[in-house]
């Protein structure tokens, strides 16, 4: 809708107490939004000065910032401010008002005033293009860029017919979906399911091992798979175009941004393989796009378009977090945007309370609940597909495993008796199986190590024996089932030693007692005696209803008879001498609710007992979901840089913005097709520089504003800041967490972050050049041509690293732009 017509305000508001002082620049002063809007009398009467046509239409190319040039003879700082004020008032910006409260002195209030402007002065969104011509102008570039991007992404995509880099992981995980075998990985399943789907669509049967560096056999349609996944990368480019248009960039700026997205070699390179990154990038872009779309709809809340874009933002967040957890960082941007928006609305006194609450509910439902549902659905599908036993079983609870096909748990005899051979599973999240091996502790008692281990292995087997004080189990006699408060001796079957504890400090958790394996079938002491305490049973319920220990469902604790401590595996990792397995110790504190002291019998063998026909083990989805997520979190945190082993591929976050390091994605032999993951220096360096320049520009504007210069029309500053926030804060949220987190990082972690830097480049070019009035059209064209020329030129220079380099690398000279790159020789 068109803005209100400018109204003559020749006569000042009668409520003003300052009529007697006639300010010559009164109207000019009024045009300043910042101080004007603060006055309630203004916002209610909507008086408009004649200076400008207000409100502005959507920021367009033609609009440039206006500067109020001082009238000749106006204030000279040295001259008397009093006289000059009276005459010219070039500094005077206060609307005369009788509301003292409006002008305040502490910073807190300044903030409000600024915000009130934002709510008071509404920007009218650009009307949708109506004519065919406008449609064409808007969409044609997108179409052309998409085609170009198809070409770059698909060109010679199958050139290297070997498993390149992390295809070894993600190709393999995709195969598991086709084979329906349960596996475990630190990333959420959506991306890998898409890989699986892509495999299915292209007719791959899931039988390939995806060993790193292997050649693809005939029956693996790797080209089709790569093409389908590269499509996500292709779509980044049109999204960049529409996003920059939605952010109000001029055409030239939008072109430049899109060209940068099109021509970055790192994005190109990473999109061309069977990896998750193309999807992650795509959904990062859609999230930003949906957010900007939603922002444009903000003046028509609860209209269909508003709902649509809010919903799409939510879905997009759900997808991006379901692909990799780093997607969560872009969610932070949406979160902060939403909070600021709600805070702004909180100050809008005219908004009805009901509407305000509705805003909250809408955001909560569509930006928190909806993404969460998407995330959970992806896990639900994950569990539904992977219903066969596989490599990842042991990360899950025993009960979950019992439901996997090909698992023998369901054949377990139901009730555990003395003489049974069993494995014990720790019920803490990410808990493993009680394990021991012949290696001894290098510290403490130096006896045989006891650990928790995540994989199935004979070293996890224990036999339940009678204590030394009673007669050994009679293989012929009556079967004696294990009850609450029974004293047992647990014998490690491969080594014949007994599970033992004593008053020696545990190797890592020094406050606990060490647990070791000691003695043999004949020697031992009371330190080998453990009291079995039943906590409860998932089927039978409370302890009182559990006569005997059942496999899988009964929750047990082991109390050391002598010391009264409890067997615990609190997810602490042993040093390399313990093979980084999980420490098992004996906790002196009795915490009945600590799941790390809870164990259940997982596998159970006893020839004298009937095989269980138990198929009534049901594992609730939410528990499995939660369990898997905690396990993922635990493993993710365990991916710490190994001090002993220098990882040649890893890089630290500080290496990324200035492109300090690249990454070899495959073998570097002369007859191999080589890919080098490195960005387009023109894009990366300008992106990083633009962030610094942005801070500088904002500071300059703030200082100028503080000094009374009026550089902005109504709403322009808010819009400028809004784009800076999307790009700048987006970058910060995507980048800073990497600095803090302890896990090992690689250069491709920066790729989503880079998108925000590129948006910032576009924004600054737009603001400083393309929308500036200082430059003529011709100059703008020249600058545009040079900037995009450089980007394209550098892209062409480096295209080989993404398209694949054949032959000896030495023959491709001129690629070493920084000495630290290991493109020619490894350092």
């Amino acid at each position: 809708m068109p803005g209100p017509v400018a109204v003559d305000i020749g006569t000042p508001s009668p409520r003003s107490s300052f009529e007697e002082i006639q300010h010559p620049t009164y109207t000019a002063a009024r045009s300043n939004p910042r101080y004007d809007a603060a006055s309630p009398s203004w916002s209610s009467s909507s008086h408009q000065p004649l200076v400008e046509e207000l409100p502005m239409h959507y920021v367009t190319d033609e609009k440039a910032r206006r500067r109020i040039i001082r009238a000749p003879g106006s204030v000279d700082p040295g001259s008397s401010p009093l006289t000059s004020t009276r005459e010219h008032m070039p500094y005077e910006m206060h609307p005369p008002t009788d509301h003292v409260d409006d002008i305040d002195d502490d910073d807190g209030k300044e903030v409000y005033r600024r915000m009130r402007v934002a709510t008071a002065l509404r920007q009218i969104p650009r009307p949708p293009p109506t004519t065919f011509k406008e449609d064409l102008i808007e969409n044609l570039p997108a179409a052309i860029y998409t085609l170009l991007s198809c070409w770059t992404r698909f060109y010679q995509i199958g050139k290297n017919n070997h498993v390149v880099w992390d295809e070894a992981h993600f190709g393999k995980f995709g195969s598991y979906y086709l084979r329906r075998e349960f596996y475990f990985d630190v990333h959420p399943p959506l991306g890998k399911m898409i890989v699986g789907l892509v495999g299915l669509l292209s007719g791959y049967n899931g039988s390939f091992e995806f060993k790193s560096g292997d050649a693809y056999p005939e029956d693996v349609p790797y080209v089709a798979m790569r093409v389908m996944l590269a499509t996500f990368g292709v779509l980044m480019v049109p999204l960049a175009w529409y996003t920059s248009r939605e952010l109000g960039f001029s055409r030239r700026a939008a072109h430049l941004t899109t060209i940068m997205v099109l021509c970055d070699v790192a994005w190109l390179c990473i999109s061309r393989f069977i990896l998750l990154d193309s999807m992650l990038l795509f959904f990062t872009c859609t999230t930003v796009f949906c957010l900007t779309k939603f922002h444009s709809e903000r003046h028509d809340p609860f209209e269909p378009d508003w709902w649509i874009w809010l919903t799409l933002t939510g879905i997009s967040i759900g997808c991006v977090t379901s692909i990799k957890w780093v997607g969560f960082f872009v969610t932070a941007l949406v979160g902060v945007y939403t909070l600021e928006d709600l805070w702004e609305k909180f100050g809008d006194l005219k908004m009805r309370k009901r509407d305000y609450i509705k805003h909250w509910i809408a955001r909560g439902a569509l930006l928190i609940v909806l993404p969460f549902i998407v995330y959970m659905i992806s896990f639900k599908i994950h569990f539904l597909i992977l219903n066969h036993s596989g490599t990842g079983d042991s990360q899950m609870s025993s009960l979950f495993q019992a439901n996997l096909e090909g698992n023998d748990f369901s054949k377990n005899p139901l009730e555990v008796a003395f003489g049974s051979k069993v494995t014990f599973k720790n019920m803490g999240y990410g808990g493993g199986l009680l394990h021991s091996h012949t290696q001894t502790y290098p510290v403490g008692s130096q006896q045989q190590q006891v650990t928790c281990y995540h994989y199935k292995d004979d070293n996890n087997h224990w036999r339940v024996e009678k204590p030394w004080t009673s007669a050994p189990v009679d293989d012929e006699g009556d079967i004696e089932f294990l009850k609450h408060n029974d004293v047992v001796r647990l014998v490690h079957t491969p080594t014949g030693r007994n599970l033992h504890s004593h008053t020696v400090a545990a190797p890592v958790t020094k406050l606990n007692n060490e647990v070791s394996c000691y003695g043999n079938t004949t020697t031992g002491d009371a330190g080998d005696h453990w009291i079995v305490e039943i906590v409860d049973d998932m089927v039978l319920g409370k302890r009182q209803n559990v006569p005997h220990v059942r496999s899988l469902t009964t929750k047990l604790r082991f109390k050391h008879q002598q010391l009264g401590c409890y067997l615990v595996a609190p997810n602490t990792v042993l040093p390399p001498w313990g093979f980084k397995q999980i420490e098992v110790s004996c906790d002196k504190e009795n915490n009945p609710n600590d799941p790390h002291t809870h164990w259940n019998v997982e596998s159970h063998w006893n020839g004298r007992l009937p095989v269980g026909e138990t198929k009534f083990y049901k594992s609730p989805f939410f528990r499995d979901f939660w369990h898997l997520n905690v396990a993922m979190m635990t493993s993710n945190n365990a991916l710490v840089p190994d001090a002993d082993k220098e990882d040649i591929l890893a890089s630290s976050p500080t290496d990324w913005p200035w492109l300090h390091l690249g990454l070899r994605m495959c073998g570097w032999g002369d007859n191999q097709t080589k890919y080098y993951l490195i960005g387009n220096p023109a894009v990366w360096w300008s992106g990083t520089a633009s962030l610094g320049i942005c801070v500088l520009v904002i500071c300059v504007y703030l200082i100028r504003n503080q000094r009374g210069y009026r550089d902005w029309g109504v709403g322009e500053w808010d819009h400028f800041l809004y784009v800076c926030k999307i790009a700048g804060l987006g970058w910060v949220f995507q980048y800073v967490p990497f600095l803090i987190m302890g896990r090992v990082t690689y250069i491709h972690h920066y790729l989503p972050t880079l998108y925000f830097a590129v948006l910032m480049v576009g924004h600054l070019f737009d603001h400083l050049v393309f929308k500036s009035r200082r430059f003529s059209e011709r100059t703008k064209w020249i600058i545009f041509a040079i900037a995009s020329g450089i980007v394209i030129g550098v892209f062409w220079w480096f295209r080989g690293v993404a398209f694949g380099i054949d032959g000896p690398i030495k023959e491709h000279w001129g690629l070493l732009w920084r000495k630290t790159w290991n493109i020619y020789e490894s350092h």
Binding site: S80, V100, D105, D106, G347, Q706
Partner: protein, 785 residues
């Protein structure tokens, strides 16, 4: 500032003196009606925010003498509590081990190295010197007796105790200057004066007393500076600003924590400057710049000079060689008289036999005839060459002869080995050359194996036996010297640096340290030096062949280079203090006093000193901090909805003055969360002081609806302004007295832990275990199950 001055009538601004004094006062039309006022202490106010209803001044202001009496009384209490039994224990307590020792070094004038800046330690040294300490006592371990060694420790402890006691009146004055009534000021000062934590920390030979005192003084000086802001560029204005700068430098000179005080004041100054920049203040740009540069001068340049001067004194005093030598660069060491380097450093000539020592781990480059095993445990294969290891003891197998790779003259200076010369190193006892090649080292697959090759086989692999002597910071032609030249040994063909790390090799190498080739040829830890020239190439005296005098002269080194070197080193070491300590604790524990530090114990008398604050007082501070955040949050929300719950001038003070204290607290507290180094409870004491200030202000806010207003010194040419008086009245006094009962009780209850006397039996200790996380000694067994 006297209260009288506040009420003086002030004239209209002089229209023709914009830059001088009348700046902040309105020249805008509105200011012609009511008058600007000056209220808040820190932060800013707009002179126009006036014409709202002020409560009538309730009663006359409190006379100055009441303030004086209260201040003197609380100071006297502070002195009494800090000097009470200051001679007990007559043993070394906690970090007196370090700081007593450092004081002794100043007296002996021996160079030492420490991560803390020298000011507080210089003061301790001065105190020691003053009371006649001869510096002979070693302060070796906690519990060493002072009286047996005739150490005048009471005099040395008196200095921190004086600083600790004087902190109390400073706190009192801060509150007074911020316009709080007597009862609030006394309450606040008492929270410091009777705090067990402050007392125990400030009556021992430690740095914190001086640190806290100067931090408080910086805040005080800045507040005074803020109050005279309407008389800009006046003498008082300059005086208080420079004083702020000097005190800041002093606090930074005590400990690096002073940097946080810099941030606090810096933030306030930025806010202030931002406001001066505001066009509505009518300052022309040149005045704004003048303000800016004045602050840069007073708060950056002056502190820098003062801070550097501490180091200047430090270097001047410590002119002799001491324990800190080896931390420093060779140039630095040669400037210390009696330094080994200075005495025994000689140029190395070709065919000299030398021993090479690794700078960080102090092992010699060693080889013996045993060979690397063919296959390691992890299945990798070695070259089976002769082992080269790091060995910490003197041994014939550490000797290497320097063989030239070029023709050298028979005699003379041409035989001196120089920077960047390529040499071979011949292992004397096995007659083989040092060599490294592209075979993985025993424990690190990424690094190259270092071995030797027999002299007779060496011809075919000649290149692989060449190493360059890369002297650190060396210039072309610089002679290679024993002791003084730190160098890297860079392999010519593969550019790896000979490197070692404290990892022991397995049994087959007698658990000696691994030596390998590090691919980063610039690796900082790959630094070696020649420990000694064992056999000179010519049968000459080492001194005479250099033709120099036998007595070496102490070399001069530029102060600024010394200064820069020490700063850098301190930073590196500070970050390196990550070893765990039984009493170290994380910052999150501090405000709640979840853990203390055991300073000293005496097993016979069951006495102990346990550093922990007055629990009641500290928790009050935590509550006050949360209340403050709550008030601010509620105020923000309310005002967002157009409601003004707090009177304007009260809110102003809340935001600007109390807010300043709050920021000070935040700056002195939160950065610790980012630090990886060892942290202790006493690191919280400066932040605690700031939280105490917040507590006083919050008490005032709760007790009364008004404040003393305005409190700033009016500038020339300002008019009369409305005033307000604080109305806390009797109820605040009663509240304070009621508060004092449990507070004092807690103080006396914990006093045995603070003073280390009297001894406590098991039951008494158990009773004092107020929080289960405390780790007191001599706890009774009965109740710990």
């Amino acid at each position: 500032m006297s209260t009288g001055a506040r009420r003086r009538g002030i004239r209209l601004p002089q229209p023709d003196s914009p830059g001088n004094g009348s700046g902040p006062d309105g020249l805008s039309p509105r200011s012609l009606t009511p008058d600007p006022t000056h209220d808040s202490t820190v932060g800013d106010e707009d002179p126009r925010s006036v014409s709202r209803s002020f409560p009538a001044a309730s009663g006359p202001p409190e006379p100055e003498y009441i303030h004086n009496i209260a201040c003197v009384a609380i100071t006297a209490i502070a002195f009494a509590l800090r000097f009470y039994k200051i001679n007990h224990p007559d043993q070394v307590v906690f970090d007196e081990v370090h700081f007593g020792k450092f004081a002794a070094y100043y007296i002996l004038r021996e160079y030492y190295f420490d991560v803390h800046p020298p000011f507080a330690k210089l003061l301790l040294g001065l105190a020691g010197w003053f009371v006649g300490f001869d510096g002979r006592f070693e302060f070796e371990a906690i519990g060493d007796s002072y009286s047996q060694h005739h150490v005048p420790y009471v005099g040395m402890r008196a200095m921190p105790a004086v600083f600790g006691s004087l902190t109390v009146p400073v706190v009192y004055q801060i509150m007074k200057e911020c316009g709080f009534p007597v009862v609030i000021c006394t309450f606040t000062a008492a929270l410091i004066a009777l705090d067990n934590g402050h007392i125990v920390q400030t009556r021992l030979i430690l740095l914190d007393a001086a640190l806290i005192f100067f931090i408080a003084l910086s805040l005080y000086a800045y507040i005074r500076f803020r109050k005279v802001r309407y008389s800009e560029f006046s003498r008082a204005w300059w005086g208080w600003m420079v004083a702020t700068g000097v005190f800041l430098a002093c606090s930074l000179g005590c400990k690096m924590v002073g940097l946080f005080t810099f941030f606090t004041i810096g933030t306030a100054v930025l806010v202030d400057l931002w406001d001066i920049l505001d066009i509505r203040k009518k300052y022309p740009m040149d005045v704004v710049l003048k303000h800016f540069f004045a602050r840069a001068l007073g708060l950056i340049v002056v502190p820098f000079i003062v801070y550097s001067s501490f180091f200047w004194v430090h270097f001047k005093v410590l002119s002799h060689s001491g324990t800190g030598d080896s931390f420093m660069s060779p140039e630095f060491q040669e400037s210390l008289s009696g330094n080994e380097l200075l005495m025994k450093s000689h140029e190395i000539r070709y065919y000299d036999t030398v021993t090479l020592k690794h700078k960080d781990t102090k092992v010699f480059l060693h080889s013996h005839k045993e060979r690397y095993p063919l296959k390691y445990k992890d299945g990798r294969i070695s070259s089976q060459g002769q082992q080269v290891t790091g060995y910490p003891h003197e041994d014939l197998n550490n000797q290497w002869q320097v063989i030239p790779s070029k023709a050298i003259p028979e005699t003379g200076r041409g035989r001196v080995v120089r920077h960047n010369d390529a040499v071979q190193l011949l292992h004397i006892s096995t007659q083989s050359y040092l060599l490294t090649h592209d075979v993985a080292s025993p424990t690190m697959p990424t690094n190259q194996e270092v071995t030797t090759i027999a002299k007779e086989d060496a011809r075919s692999r000649y290149n692989e036996t060449l190493f360059t002597i890369d002297i650190i910071n060396g210039h072309p032609g610089q002679p290679w010297k024993s002791k003084a030249s730190h160098f890297r040994l860079v392999h010519v063909p593969t550019k790896v640096s000979i490197w070692t790390h404290p990892k022991a090799l397995p049994e087959w190498a007698f658990k000696q340290q691994e030596v390998n080739g590090n691919k980063n040829s610039e690796e900082r830890t790959a630094t070696w030096f020649v420990d000694d020239i064992v056999i000179p190439a010519e049968d000459e005296d080492l001194f005479s062949r250099e033709g120099g005098p036998k007595e070496k002269v102490v070399k001069k080194m530029n102060f600024f280079r010394k200064y820069a070197e020490l700063q850098l080193l301190a930073l590196q070491h500070n970050a390196g203090l990550t070893a765990s300590h039984p009493y170290a604790s994380g910052p999150i524990n501090w405000p709640f006093l979840l853990s203390g530090i055991s300073f000293w114990t005496n097993n016979e008398k069951l006495q102990q000193i346990y550093m922990v604050g007055n629990v009641f007082g500290w928790w009050t501070c935590v509550v006050a901090l949360s209340v403050f955040t709550g008030i601010i949050g509620a105020d923000l929300l309310a005002r967002r909805r157009g409601i003004q719950p707090i009177p304007e001038f009260v809110r102003n003070r809340l935001w600007n003055s109390t807010g300043f204290f709050f920021i000070a607290w935040a700056f002195h507290y939160f950065p610790f969360f980012l630090m990886n180094r060892q942290l202790f409870l006493h690191h919280y004491l400066p932040a605690h002081l700031c939280s105490v200030l917040v507590t006083g202000a919050v008490f005032n806010f709760i007790a009364g609806e008004s404040i003393n207003y305005p409190i700033s010194v009016p500038g020339p040419g300002m008019r009369r302004m409305p005033t307000a008086r604080s109305d806390v009245g009797m109820k605040a006094v009663i509240a304070a007295v009621l508060y004092a009962i449990p507070y004092l009780a807690m103080f006396f209850f914990l006093a045995p832990l603070t003073y280390g006397t009297p001894g406590l039996n098991g039951d008494q200790v158990n009773r004092r275990l107020l929080l289960p996380s405390w780790t007191l000694h001599f706890a009774g067994k009965a109740t710990t199950s």
